[in-house]
Point group: C2
Amino acid sequence: METLGGITGRSLTVAELVDVLRSAIVGGDLVPNQRLVEADLAAEYGASRGNIRAALAELTVEGLVERVQNRGARVRAVSVEEAVEITEVRAALEALCARKAAERITADEAAELQKLAGRMKDAVERGDRDSYSECNQILHARVIDISAQQTAAATIHRLRGQAVRFQFRLARQPGRPAVSLPQHLAIIDAVCAHNPDAAAHAMRVHLESVADVIRSTHT
Amino acid sequence: METLGGITGRSLTVAELVDVLRSAIVGGDLVPNQRLVEADLAAEYGASRGNIRAALAELTVEGLVERVQNRGARVRAVSVEEAVEITEVRAALEALCARKAAERITADEAAELQKLAGRMKDAVERGDRDSYSECNQILHARVIDISAQQTAAATIHRLRGQAVRFQFRLARQPGRPAVSLPQHLAIIDAVCAHNPDAAAHAMRVHLESVADVIRSTHT
DNA sequence: GTACAAGAAATTGTTGACAATCTTGAATGT
DNA sequence: ACATTCAAGATTGTCAACAATTTCTTGTAC
């Protein structure tokens, strides 16, 4: 065991450890149900056990780690049912953000989103999945950003971390872009047209269709 | 300083401390912006500083406590703007729950809600604010319960803790029951009628009106 | 009188050691 | 061979001491 990529000089602080461990979990370096033995992690990351322990406690509250009394911590395994629930909550929250974004969007921001719409159409036409996936992420992030809803943004971000594994598979689904592109364009249109109700509806429909796909992967 | 109400024999565990401190904060024993000095809390609750520290870390992630590097912890002061945001997020999430509840509700549960509707009308007629307030809480709790949405429920619960101070004042607002009673009845009707869209809409309208009231208290 | 600087006090951050608990596996009896 | 008991090892939970940082106080120069 050796220190992985960190600044090897001093030992890591709790906040740093939280970031490092969170990245390791959402990035898949630590797989679901993997045991997280405090002493081992301490040796691996060159930190004291106390700090590792504190970091695990924080990640537990965030929902990425599961702990049972006297039996230690594991990477929380999110079931399909939970992933569906999480996506449905995201649907509700991002619909709220889309609504607020439609109320607040400026002309410059609208132009930016229209440009993004063009890039997305282009990517689908060319069959460029990576570019489309990137635009997808940018779109959701920009809508949340424009909405200026701190509370909703923080909640969405936390939930996304828990279900990122499922989101990941989804992008590779064949024929998926053909379904989601018109949904994305509808969101952009409604937000740019300052139509809050339509924007919220379009976003909700989009993410509920994502939830349906996740649901269908299990059956 | 002495131990407050706890079992004085052994010292408190981290999980117990989290509960005790959370209750103290949402209950108002620890007021917003109050400094939370680890050593003082340790003495007050008869716990070790390490455990107090761990508990404060958890409550920070929950959003009840604010910490800055090397400067300690305070009870987080939720601004009016934040309280409005929190209520808007709750509106989106409880609307989701109302939608799901309308899909899943059984005949027995519907009868129970109808009975609750009667109690609420009765309480408003008699001018019994305490009873009405209690029914209000029960209604929201039951809808969330019937929806069986764990993720949404947990998120709502956390957010409620942060904004409970504002919710509290609201109930005392004169003329408030006259406005909220029809909204509550509309929610119950839609959920019992298995009408998901109407239920979600009624719940959203209700909680957005709550957000408006909170907004207006600041201006 | 005010601004600045240095030291003291208070407070937080970190660590290693010890205690409590759970798990594993061998020994024993049936 | 199988179940039970019990001891050894592994792991987590708790604590008190030490280090680092911030804040407060005091003294001094201008």
